[in-house]
């Protein structure tokens, strides 16, 4: 065992970091993916994330069961998603603005009630060690994978299948493609959006539970670094496809892990530019793949005028 394992160490740390940092991205982006496919953008998921983190931590502290915490977090996400859907059911109300207002409201509420939980320690979510075959502590640390990550992986094909092959998934896509088409087919796109926003909100809050109950693993007011807002960009990068969302989350996680890993081996230049790489890439993809008379492939039609 050596302390200096150079670039291999960076690679392993980045891969481990991709999973560790990428898991909340995965949950929020899958949730936002579903919501956006139904024709709504919920910018308030940042609030869901912070609220979920607080609720999960508090419930885990009182009940001593982190899993109960995760379920409670999902419940808080459903409530916030409900609020968003409720307020936006009238066409005149802007879903973008309501999202931002709910983001301010939910983070405020989470900080308000979360003051009491900054000090105590709550039981954390368990991790599965897949790295026991190796005797390198770096590999072992990188292969410590949280159970929520596996749940997230399991949701990916399910969501993909539901959207693609089920009656309900088709209704979600029609609602997202064209409100009037949905009405012509005889179903209420508002109900579909209610459901999609509430499920999406629950998933985003589970992502928050991961933050407070596993990594970084404590509750404080600087817990989220904007993952909820970033997830909106991530979904676009993933072209509204759950499977791409998975890879994009890992990529965003890796990008976030790359800077610190490079710093650990002494490379510091361009740290902050690496952070912007995913956004820059998304923008380039957006520009290249759309044109004046054709929008980005996979974009729900309700977002184009």
């Amino acid at each position: 065992m050596t302390t200096d394992i150079g670039l291999w160490g960076v690679l392993i740390a980045v891969l481990g970091g991709a999973v560790r940092v990428g898991t909340p991205f995965l949950f929020v982006s899958l949730g936002e993916c579903l919501t956006e496919r139904s024709g709504r953008i919920n910018l308030g998921l940042e609030g869901n994330l912070v609220m979920g983190a607080m609720v999960a931590y508090a419930v885990s502290y009182y009940s001593e069961s982190p899993f109960l915490g995760v379920i409670a977090a999902a419940g808080s996400g459903v409530v916030l998603g409900f609020l968003h859907a409720f307020l936006c059911q009238n066409k005149r109300v802007s879903h973008i603005a309501v999202g931002i207002a709910l983001m301010i409201f939910a983070t405020g509420l989470a900080f308000f009630f979360g003051k009491a939980f900054i000090q105590p320690t709550a039981p954390r979510l368990p991790a599965v060690s897949l790295g026991l075959w190796s005797d390198s502590p770096i590999i072992q640390a990188a292969m410590e994978i949280n159970v929520l990550f596996f749940i997230g992986i399991a949701i990916v094909p399910v969501l993909y299948f539901v959207l693609k092959n089920t009656r309900w998934g088709l209704m979600v896509r029609v609602a997202g493609e064209s409100d009037s088409a949905a009405r012509a087919l005889g179903f209420d796109s508002r109900k579909i959006r209610w459901a999609s926003t509430m499920i999406g909100g629950a998933m985003a809050s589970i992502g928050g539970a991961y933050l407070s109950l596993y990594y970084p693993g404590s509750w404080n007011e600087g817990l989220s670094s904007g993952q909820g807002l970033m997830a909106v960009a991530l979904v676009i990068f993933a072209r509204w496809n759950p499977i791409y969302c998975f890879f994009a989350s890992l990529l965003f996680g890796a990008a976030a892990a790359l800077g610190p890993s490079l710093q650990a081996v002494g490379i510091t230049w361009g740290y902050y530019l690496f952070n912007a790489a995913p956004y820059f890439l998304t923008l380039i993809i957006l520009v290249l793949s759309s044109s004046a008379d054709k929008t980005l492939e996979g974009m729900p039609g309700e977002f184009t005028r």
Partner: protein, 349 residues
């Protein structure tokens, strides 16, 4: 009359309802709502000191709100005020630092021009991509926020970093002599004057000139605008440029009047709060003024709430959030109130 009366009544009803909700919330935490409301009033408008505090906070909000409101008149939902403010502040700081030694008036003018230009071009890019490449402007302006923040951090933690700023890495100082001063004896800087003047000017331009009218036609119906011979793309890009320039100016003011340097304070949420103000004002530049002052006032009251009632500083966000959620939701009331429904019968003047 109805056109101006309806929004005022709807907003008043919503405000009243939100006050009720907030009172419920305060009671549930075991505080006396009336006492808390009194404190909020005291902390925001109750004394000369708090009025100054309120106005200082309202200044950047006026400008970042215009960044959403002006493009919205052309039918675009821009949420890139944060990025334009960062870019404007950054470029103005670079201008201020590199021109140091010249006369303060010259430096300040150059800073404002560079800040407004860079912020304007930043948002104009989103408008350009929208019209000529079909890229959704909401998404692209959100992405541009992150790119702007990364550029700021890259420069402020890198080549622009003043080694003396350890706790909060910042650019070099633009020099005390070159800073935008305060009005008279107060602590209110000139930023608020710029903000209000721009709101008035853009209100006039938007609602009283041919240019403003063509922009509204573009926002209402782009095809009709095209048939009327209006150059739709030009209108979209110009209105985005104007909006971005305002947000850029907000950045200039943060640098020139408050911090003297470019640093992370440039992306402390004024851009996102501005989006809310714009939507609350229903994209009317004149209505932005009271809403920005209201928002600044609630923020200013935070400290006093903490000291008087032991309420956490986050209560400001809760109160703001409740108020805005309700006001935004009240948009659904338009055209539904019986009083305004019977306009064909001629109920009102």
């Amino acid at each position: 009359m109805q056109k101006t009366l309806e929004p005022i009544i709807v907003t008043a009803v919503a405000l009243l309802f939100s006050v009720l909700l907030i009172a419920l919330f305060i009671t549930s935490t075991g505080n006396d709502p009336i006492a808390v409301f009194k404190t909020i009033y005291k902390g925001s408008f109750g004394s000369w000191f708090s009025v100054q505090n309120t106005l200082v906070r309202a200044a950047p909000l006026l400008l970042t709100a215009l960044c959403t409101a002006i493009p919205a008149r052309a039918g675009l939902v821009i949420i890139g005020g944060e990025g334009a403010m960062v870019i404007g502040g950054l470029f103005s700081a670079i201008t201020g630092i590199s021109l140091s030694g010249n006369s303060p008036i010259f430096i300040l003018t150059a800073m404002m021009l560079s800040g407004a230009m860079s912020g304007g071009l930043w948002i104009a890019l989103a408008g350009f991509l929208n019209y000529y490449r079909g890229v959704n402007e909401t998404i692209s302006s959100l992405l541009l926020n992150y790119i702007a923040i990364a550029i700021l951090n890259f420069l402020v933690f890198g080549m622009l970093k003043d080694p003396e700023t350890l706790n909060k890495p910042s650019s070099f100082h633009i020099g005390e002599a070159n800073m935008l001063g305060v009005i008279g004896e107060s602590s209110i800087h000139w930023g608020i004057v710029f903000g209000i003047l721009l709101c008035l000017l853009l209100w006039f331009v938007s609602l009283r000139t041919t240019f403003g009218f063509s922009v509204s036609i573009v926002g209402g119906n782009p095809r009709a605008a095209k048939l009327a011979g209006i150059s739709v793309g030009k209108m979209i890009v110009i209105s985005c440029f104007i909006g971005g320039a305002c947000a850029g100016l907000a950045g200039v003011i943060e640098v020139a009047a408050v911090h003297g340097r470019a640093n992370g304070s440039l992306n402390s949420g004024y851009g996102y709060a501005g989006i809310l103000v714009a939507f609350l004002a229903r994209h009317n530049p004149l209505a932005i003024i009271p809403f920005a002052v209201l928002m600044g006032g609630i923020q200013a009251a935070g400290g006093l709430l903490q000291r008087r009632h032991g309420l956490p500083d986050a209560s400001v966000e809760v109160i703001q959030g409740m108020m805005f959620v309700v006001i935004l939701g009240s948009e659904a009331l338009y055209g539904r109130m019986p009083f305004f429904k019977n306009k064909s019968i001629g109920v009102s003047v």
